[in-house]
């Protein structure tokens, strides 16, 4: 309309079914078309970075659970790697393998959630979400079995992992690993090549590889844009260099590719878990470290490939028992850098789908 009509300002959020948390998009619309998108975050800000400056290195591990509560294991792992790098702690072989198993289980759980909610945003009335929750529940059961918590696991320790998994863990995870490819095949059958999903997500929210790299976008979003970049391959931490797996790389860079990439990553994670279980070495699960770790003054930046992208932990030590500065590189937040460019000019449903495909976790955005 060329009519001088008032801008139609719509607040999507803070309470809205498809913002997945207290997240607010303030969009200016003309009809169904978006003229401007502004995001308002901070409703969940808990100043973790400040709190961490008052606590010892070990005490900080539970905080990392609460940032990205859908991928607590990966966050634990990233932080522990940073602290180990800073303090020069060696990790036993068995601990590395266990870390890989749990991080990959967490990736499957998180990608299930991401894909389920993405399809939900595309309008399927909860069915795919429920399907994917089914597997996620089993994974969370495994977590509960091992460390007593389902979401905020607090499982990794500086120098290893907190506990040995109980004996009943291994048959359960074997059964799950045997079952998962079938289940993922089920999603594929149900959703991939679905005409409606194609119509909704194909060529929506397209990111070119150059834009994605320049905008610090990482993780499945970057890979869907066609950039073969995965920290597990590029900078193998733990024992990832010993496993055989591939990086799925998309060709269009649209929401549909992000969905497919996540689906394929789940398959690859199953492969990794299987290999790690087969080759799980015996030995200690943890290196003993002093209770109050006092690393040399200095700084360390360790990063892992979290389910949402490069999950970096920047820790500065001044020689004291607590970090002098603690910074989390939150992929959820940084992947939103180009949200405006992706959404403006498209329509409201497209913007919702785009947001869903970016797979944000508000706890991680706000920290």
């Amino acid at each position: 309309m060329t009519t001088a009509s008032d801008p139609y300002v719509l607040n999507i959020g803070p309470q809205h079914p498809s913002t997945h948390g207290v997240f607010r998009l303030r969009v200016v619309m003309d009809g169904e078309h978006l003229q401007d998108v502004d995001m308002v975050v901070g409703y969940l800000h808990r100043s973790m970075e400040k709190l961490a400056e008052e606590r010892t290195y070990a005490q900080n591990i539970p905080f990392t659970d609460r940032t990205d509560y859908l991928a607590a294991m990966s966050n634990n792992l990233g932080y522990c790697l940073a602290a180990e790098l800073l303090a020069g702690v060696e990790v036993p072989e068995r601990a590395s393998y266990l870390r890989v198993i749990f991080a990959e289980l967490q990736r499957i759980a998180s990608h299930s959630m991401a894909n389920g909610t993405f399809i939900n945003d595309a309008g399927a009335w909860q069915t795919p979400l429920m399907y994917m929750f089914r597997e996620r529940e089993k994974i969370l059961d495994l977590f509960e079995m091992t460390c007593g918590a389902r979401l905020t696991t607090n499982y990794m320790r500086i120098g290893g992992v907190a506990f040995e998994p109980p004996p009943e863990f291994y048959p359960a995870v074997d059964a799950l690993v045997a079952e998962l490819p079938d289940r993922i095949g089920e999603y594929t059958e149900l959703l991939v090549d679905n005409e409606i999903l194609l119509a909704r997500a194909r060529d929506v929210g397209v990111l070119s590889p150059a834009d994605a790299i320049n905008a610090s976008i990482t993780g499945p979003v970057l890979r869907a844009s066609g950039v073969p970049w995965d920290l597990r391959k590029a900078e193998p931490y733990c024992a990832y260099d010993r496993f055989d797996f591939g990086i799925p790389v998309g060709h269009h860079g649209d929401c549909y590719d992000r969905f497919l990439v996540r689906l394929e990553e789940m398959r690859q994670s199953v492969r990794i878990i299987r290999q790690a279980l087969d080759g799980l070495p015996s030995g200690a699960h943890k290196t003993e470290i002093p209770l109050a770790l006092r690393p040399e003054p200095g700084e360390a930046y360790a990063r892992v490939e979290g389910p949402r992208g490069e999950l970096g932990f920047y820790v500065v030590s001044d020689g004291g028992p607590a970090p002098f500065r603690f910074h989390i590189r939150a992929p959820s937040l940084i992947n939103l850098s180009l949200l405006r460019e992706m959404a403006v000019g498209s329509s409201l449903p497209d913007a919702i789908v785009t947001l869903g495909s970016l797979d944000i976790v508000v706890g991680e955005i706000d920290r």
Binding site: M1, T2, T3, S5, D6
Partner: protein, 171 residues
């Protein structure tokens, strides 16, 4: 017509029609006026039914209550803010006077003229069992030319409306 149902129906529907038509004039909010207009259309459709014109009654509901009213509402929504009131113009009083005069004149004519009217038995004989087929036949038979003209008119109106509202450069 002497069936009890028809008599009750006529007076109720006539009241509804005239009353809500009057509301169109009285009500301040334009959208409320549209609502009253729809109510009036529905009453009119009911009156058509009492005249055993079932096809026309359905067409009335479909076209007036279903289509034109939505069109009106859309037009109201597309012209925002400034013009949602149903205010009177300078000609409100003269208009009312003229309208009243017309109404009185027509009512007088209706009552006063001795219409060549069917009554009682003849009227009952005339009851149409199935107008839809007869109307359909007459449309494609006797009034075929008018039918063609009407369809051409509709087409022209369609194209015209699109051409009017279309923006330059729109696909």
């Amino acid at each position: 017509m002497e069936s009890t149902g028809i008599i009750i129906g006529f007076w109720a529907l006539a009241g509804l029609t005239v009353g809500s038509a009057a509301l169109v004039f009285v009500v301040r909010n334009l959208l409320h006026a549209v609502l009253a207009l729809v109510l009036s259309f529905m009453g009119m459709a009911g009156l058509f039914l009492t005249l055993s014109a079932d096809f026309i009654a359905m067409a009335q509901v479909l076209i007036y209550a279903g289509a034109i009213s939505v069109l009106l509402v859309f037009a109201v929504m597309l012209t925002p803010l400034a013009s949602r009131d149903n205010g009177n113009s300078l000609f409100a009083l003269p208009g009312l006077a003229i309208g009243g005069a017309f109404a009185l004149l027509l009512m007088f004519l209706a009552v006063d003229v001795d219409w060549p009217e069917l009554r009682d038995a003849a009227l009952a004989d005339r009851a149409f069992a199935d107008t839809i087929e007869a109307v359909g036949r007459s449309l494609v038979d006797r009034y075929a030319f008018a039918f063609q003209v009407a369809s051409a008119l509709l087409l022209v109106a369609l194209i015209g409306a699109i051409a009017l509202v279309r923006e330059d450069g729109a696909p």
